[in-house]
C-alpha cells in the first residue's frame, strides 16, 4: 500500500487512525452512503425535526427533575422556604415539586424548560401532522409511518397528562379526579378498570407512583423506540419532495447530509433548545405554589388542562346531559361519549385516513412527489372541516374564560359550541373547497395569460389594457403553452426576476454594482438581462416599448 502523502489526503495520523477503525468495523461504505444521502430542502420539512429536538430537551430536563422528585402520596408538613405554604399538610410529591422550584439551584428554570418543551413537543407534532396531511405525504408507501406518527401523538398526549399530574397540586389533582371519572364512565369494565389503575377508590395512595413510572420509563421507552422506527422508515423510504424542476417520482433533489443539511439540523436543535430555555426563564408556566396542595373539596375557577387536552375538556363541556339507562338498571354515563368515544373516534379516523382515502380514490400507486393542498380540494376541505371541529371543541375548553373576559353569557358560549361544532365544520368544508378551486383557476390563468404587471397601456384605438408577462412560449393568440405541473406558479414580477437582486452590504455596499449586473445577465434574470438581450437581438425598441416599461410586447388578451 502506498503511503505517500498527497496534499489532498487528510493528515497522516488521522488517516491512519481512520484506516485502523475501518479495518475493524468496515464502516467506510455505510458512512459514505449516509454522508451522501440527499435531503430535500423546504421549511415545512423541519417541523418533525422540531418535535424530535423537543423530545431530546424533554429527556435531558426530565432526567434532571427525577433527581429531586419523590412520587409519594404520604402526608407531610411543608417547612420549606416558600412562606405562604409553611405549616400546611401536603403530599411528598407536592413538597418535592416545591423543592425543585425553590430549593434546587436552577431547578425552577429546568422545570419550566421541561414544561415549555412539552407544550412545544405536542404542538410541533400536530403541525407536522397537518403538513403531512395537507400535502399527501401519507400516501403509499408511507401509510405505516403515518400510523406510527399518530400513535406517537397519542403517546405524547399521555406523556403530557401523566406529567402534569405529578406535582399533585390542586390543579393536577382536579385533572386526576376527571381522569378517574372518565375511567369510571366506561361501560361494563369502568369500575374494574378504575380499581386496577388506582388500586381502589379515588384517590388511594399509589396513583402518583404509577403515573410516575409510566411518565419516566414506560412511555418514554415506547416513544423512543417508535421515533427510531419512524426515522428508520423515513431514511429507508427517502423523503418526499414538492414538484419542481428536475424533481420526479424517482429521485430526491436537495442537499447532501454532510455538511449543509447536518449543519442546518444541528443549528435548528440549538435554536429550539435556546427558545425553550428563554421561555423557561422568562415566561412563568404552571406556578403550582400558588394553587396549593390537592384537596378533593377544593377547586379554582378557570381550571384548565394544558392546551393539547383542551379539546377533550371542550367536548366534555358541550356534550348534553344524556345518560343512557339500559334495562337491568345499567347506565352508560354521558361522560363516556365526549371523552372516550370522541377521542377514540378522532384518533382512529386519523390513523386510518390513508386507507380511507385509498379506498375512496382508488389510488393505489406509490407517491413520492407531494401535492399542493389546492390541487386536492376534497382532502384539503376535509382537513379544514376536521380542524374547525377541533377548533370549536378547543375554544369551548376555555369557554368560561371567554365568557368572563368578554362578558358573554356562559350558557350562550356553551350553546355556541354545541351548535358550532355541528354547523361550522360543513361551512369550513364548502369555503375551503371554493378557495381551492379559486386558487387552481388563478394558477391556470397566470399560466395562460401571464403575470399581471400592473402596467397599463393605451392602444392606438384608445383602448386601455394591462400588460401581462407570459411565463413561457406563447401561441399566436398570446396564450401561454405551459401546463400546470403541481409546482407553485409565480404570481409577481419579482418572482421571475423582475427586479435586480439587491446589492449586499448594510452600511455601505460591499459588492460592485457592476458585478451584480453581470451576474444577473449571466443568469438571464431581470431587466438588465432583458435589455442586454434586446440590444443584441432586436434593434427596434419602439415596437411595444422597452421592457422597463412593462415587459415584452403582447397582444391584448381576449
Amino acid at each position: 500500500m502506498a503511503t505517500t502523502i498527497t496534499p489532498n489526503q487528510p493528515a497522516p495520523r488521522i488517516s491512519k487512525a481512520a484506516s485502523e477503525v475501518d479495518e475493524r468495523l468496515i464502516v467506510a461504505g455505510p458512512l459514505r452512503r449516509t454522508l451522501n444521502k440527499v435531503f430535500p430542502d423546504h421549511w415545512s420539512f423541519l417541523l418533525g425535526e422540531i418535535a424530535l429536538y423537543s423530545f431530546v430537551i424533554l429527556l435531558l430536563s426530565g432526567t434532571f427533575l427525577t433527581f429531586y422528585y419523590d412520587p409519594s402520596l404520604s402526608e407531610t408538613e411543608y417547612q420549606g422556604i416558600y412562606a405562604p405554604l409553611r405549616g400546611i399538610e401536603m403530599s411528598r410529591a407536592y413538597e418535592s415539586s416545591l423543592g425543585i422550584s425553590f430549593d434546587v439551584r436552577g431547578g425552577l428554570l429546568i422545570r419550566q424548560i421541561h414544561h415549555w418543551a412539552a407544550l412545544l413537543f405536542v404542538a410541533s407534532i400536530v403541525v407536522h401532522l397537518l403538513r403531512i396531511f395537507f400535502t399527501g405525504a401519507f400516501r403509499k408507501p408511507r401509510e405505516t409511518n403515518w400510523g406510527i406518527g399518530v400513535v406517537l401523538l397519542v403517546l405524547a398526549l399521555l406523556m403530557g397528562v401523566t406529567g402534569y399530574t405529578l406535582p399533585d397540586d390542586l390543579l393536577s389533582g382536579t385533572g386526576l379526579r376527571i381522569i378517574s371519572a372518565i375511567i369510571l364512565s366506561i361501560p361494563v369494565i369502568g369500575t374494574w378498570a378504575h380499581w386496577a389503575i388506582f388500586d381502589g377508590d379515588f384517590v388511594g395512595d399509589v396513583i402518583i407512583g404509577r403515573f410516575y413510572i409510566l411518565h419516566v420509563l414506560i412511555l418514554p421507552a415506547v416513544i423512543l423506540a417508535l421515533i427510531a422506527l419512524h426515522l428508520l422508515l423515513l431514511i429507508k423510504q427517502k423523503h418526499t419532495q414538492f414538484p419542481g424542476p428536475g424533481r420526479t417520482e424517482h429521485n430526491v433533489v436537495g442537499n447532501r447530509l454532510f455538511p449543509a443539511f447536518a449543519g442546518k439540523a444541528t443549528a435548528l436543535f440549538f435554536i429550539v433548545f435556546g427558545l425553550c430555555a428563554a421561555l423557561g426563564g422568562l415566561v412563568q408556566i404552571n406556578p403550582f405554589w400558588l394553587w396549593g396542595p390537592y384537596n378533593p373539596a377544593q377547586v379554582s375557577a378557570g381550571s384548565q388542562p394544558d392546551w393539547y387536552i383542551g379539546f377533550l375538556d371542550g367536548s366534555t363541556r358541550l356534550f348534553p346531559a344524556w345518560d343512557i339507562n339500559l334495562p337491568g338498571d345499567y347506565t352508560i354515563p354521558a361522560l363516556f361519549w365526549p371523552t372516550v368515544v370522541i377521542a377514540g373516534l378522532m384518533f382512529t379516523l386519523l390513523a386510518l385516513y390513508p386507507q380511507i382515502e385509498r379506498k375512496l380514490t382508488g389510488d393505489t400507486a406509490s407517491h413520492h412527489l407531494l401535492q399542493r393542498p389546492r390541487d386536492v380540494p376534497v382532502r384539503t376541505s376535509i382537513g379544514a372541516m376536521a380542524l374547525m371541529f377541533y377548533g370549536v371543541l378547543w375554544l369551548s375548553g376555555g369557554n368560561d374564560l371567554i365568557a368572563d373576559k368578554f362578558d358573554i353569557s356562559l350558557n350562550a358560549m356553551t350553546w355556541f359550541g354545541r351548535i358550532g361544532c355541528v354547523v361550522l365544520p360543513p361551512i369550513a368544508y364548502m369555503v375551503t373547497y371554493r378557495i381551492c378551486l379559486g386558487l387552481q383557476r388563478h394558477d391556470r390563468e397566470v399560466l395562460e395569460h401571464g403575470i399581471e404587471t400592473g402596467v397599463i397601456r393605451r392602444l392606438p384605438s384608445g383602448e386601455f389594457i394591462e400588460v401581462h408577462q407570459p411565463l413561457g412560449p406563447v401561441d399566436e393568440h398570446g396564450h401561454g403553452q405551459l401546463t400546470y405541473a403541481g409546482a407553485p406558479v409565480p404570481k409577481r414580477m419579482n418572482q421571475v426576476g423582475g427586479a435586480r437582486r439587491a446589492i449586499k452590504g448594510f452600511f455601505k455596499p460591499i459588492e460592485q454594482p457592476s458585478d451584480v449586473e453581470l451576474e444577473a445577465q449571466r443568469e438571464r434574470r431581470g431587466l438588465a438581462a432583458a435589455e442586454a438581450d434586446r440590444e443584441v437581438t432586436s434593434g427596434r425598441p419602439s415596437e411595444g416599448g422597452r421592457p422597463s416599461e412593462g415587459g415584452r410586447p403582447q397582444d391584448p388578451r381576449d
Binding site: A2, T6, G29, R32, N36, V38, A83, F102, R105, G106, L108, L109, I113, R177, I178, S180, A181, S185, T191, W195, A196, G200, D201, F202, G246, E249, H250, V252, R256, A260, G263, A267, F270, I271, G274, A277, A278, G280, G281, L282, P296, A297, V299, A301, S303, D313, T316, R317, A321, D329, Y330, T331, P333, A334, P338, H368, D400, T414, G505, E511
Partner: protein
C-alpha cells in the same frame, strides 16, 4: 495482494468476487491520481447521487466573505458571552452575588435569578444556532444534488420468498401437525404465565360497595375544615359552607365533602325537595354533596340570587331549591342530599350516609 501467511490459511483461499467495494474497478493507483473533489463526486455517484449544480461561496478574501465571517463570529462570540454570564450568575449567586433562593417576600436579586439564567442559557444556545445557520447560508457552497430512488426489485422478492419458504419446508410445520399444535399450546399457556402478574392489579370494585358509601353515618357531626362543629345560628341566610364528617381524615376524604347551605326565606318558600327527601334538611338548612355528579370536581360557585351552584370544571349548574337538580350543562343527576339533624348539644349531625352514590355516574350505579 500479498500472500496470506496467517496460520490455517490455504494458498487457494482468496476473497470472493463480491468482497469489499469496487476495488477491482478502481485500483489504489487510479484513486491516487484523483483529487479530493473528484473522489467526492465519484463516491457520490457510486451512492446514486449526482451533484447538479454548485453555487460557489463568496470568493476567499472578498468583502462578502469577510462580512459573512464577521457575522458568524459575532454570533458565536455572543453565544460564548451568554454562556459565561450564565456560569457567573449560576455559580456566583450566594457566593459573591446575593443568594438566588427566592422566598415570596423578596423581590430583589433572587426574583431575577431564574429569568436571568434562562435568558443567558437561551441566548447562548440561540446565538450558537444562529451562527451555524449564517455559516451554512453564507459561507458554504449551495449544492443541488439529486439522488436516485430505488423501488423494490422483483429479484429480491422472489429469492427472499424462496429462502423463507424453503426454511418453512425444512422445518416442516405444515406437515408435522402434532408438533405445531403442541407448540401452539405451550406458547399460549406461556403467554398466560407472562400476563398473569398483571392479574394482581385486578380487584373487585363491588366488594363492600366503596363507590356507594362515604364516611358519613348516623350521628357524625358536620365540621369545618378546621374541625369546628356548626350550630344553626352560625351562618347568614343565603350562605354556603363546606363541611366534612368529623372522622379522622374526613377533611381529605375524596367523596365526603358536603355543602351546608342556609336558604333565605324566599328560597324556603319555593323549596321543592326531591321526592321522599323533604325531611332531609333541617329548618332552613340543606346539605348537598359537593362532588359533581358529572366528573367529580367539587362544585363550588354558589350564586344565591339564582340559587344555582356552578361546577367550574364543565359548567354544570344545579338548582338548590329544586333539590340540586341539574339545570344546565353536562351533568345528568342531582347532587345527592345528606339527611341532617341536630345532636344533644345543638350541633349539626348526619342522620345517615347519603342514600345514593355520590360523584360521577358509572355502569352499575343504580344497582347498588
Amino acid at each position: 495482494m500479498s500472500k496470506d501467511e496467517r496460520a490455517g490459511s490455504r494458498p487457494d483461499d482468496e476473497a470472493g468476487p463480491l468482497h469489499g467495494g469496487p476495488d477491482e474497478d478502481y485500483t489504489p493507483e487510479q484513486l491516487a491520481t484523483m483529487d479530493r473533489e473528484e473522489l467526492n463526486r465519484l463516491g457520490a455517484r457510486y451512492d446514486g447521487v449526482e451533484v447538479l449544480h454548485v453555487d460557489p461561496p463568496p470568493a476567499p478574501g472578498s468583502a462578502l466573505e469577510k462580512q459573512a465571517e464577521r457575522q458568524v463570529s459575532l454570533a458565536f462570540g455572543i453565544a460564548g458571552l451568554f454562556a459565561l454570564a450564565f456560569a457567573v450568575v449560576y455559580f456566583g449567586s450566594g457566593w459573591f452575588l446575593p443568594t438566588w433562593q427566592w422566598g415570596s417576600d423578596d423581590n430583589g436579586w433572587s426574583a431575577f435569578y431564574t429569568p436571568f439564567i434562562g435568558v443567558c442559557m437561551g441566548g447562548a444556545l440561540l446565538f450558537l444556532g444562529v451562527g451555524m445557520v449564517l455559516f451554512v447560508k453564507k459561507l458554504l457552497p449551495h449544492e443541488t444534488a439529486v439522488q436516485d430512488k430505488h423501488d423494490g426489485s422483483h429479484f429480491d422478492r422472489t429469492t427472499t420468498a424462496a429462502t423463507l419458504m424453503g426454511g418453512v419446508d425444512r422445518v416442516g410445520f405444515p406437515r408435522r401437525k402434532m408438533i405445531g399444535r403442541s407448540l401452539g399450546f405451550a406458547g399460549g399457556a406461556l403467554g398466560l404465565v407472562l400476563i398473569a402478574p398483571i392479574g394482581g392489579l385486578i380487584k373487585n370494585p363491588n366488594k363492600g360497595n366503596p363507590l356507594g358509601t362515604t364516611e358519613w353515618a348516623e350521628g357524625i357531626r358536620l365540621v369545618r375544615l378546621d374541625g369546628s362543629p356548626i350550630r344553626p345560628g352560625d351562618q347568614e341566610p343565603g350562605s354556603l359552607e363546606t363541611v366534612f364528617p368529623a372522622v379522622p381524615g374526613g377533611n381529605l376524604a375524596a367523596d365526603a365533602a358536603t355543602m351546608l347551605i342556609r336558604l333565605r326565606p324566599e328560597q324556603m318558600s319555593r323549596l321543592q325537595p326531591r321526592q321522599g327527601q323533604s325531611d332531609f334538611g333541617y329548618g332552613d338548612y340543606v346539605a348537598y354533596s359537593k362532588i359533581c355528579t358529572h366528573a367529580g370536581c367539587p362544585v363550588s360557585l354558589y350564586e344565591q340570587e339564582t340559587s344555582r351552584i356552578l361546577c367550574p370544571c364543565h359548567q354544570s349548574q344545579f338548582d338548590v331549591i329544586q333539590g340540586a337538580k341539574p339545570v344546565f350543562g353536562p351533568a345528568t343527576r342531582p347532587l345527592p342530599e345528606l339527611p341532617i339533624t341536630l345532636d344533644d348539644e345543638g350541633y349539626f349531625v348526619a342522620r345517615s350516609d347519603y342514600i345514593e352514590a355520590v360523584g360521577p355516574t358509572y355502569w352499575n350505579r343504580e344497582r347498588i
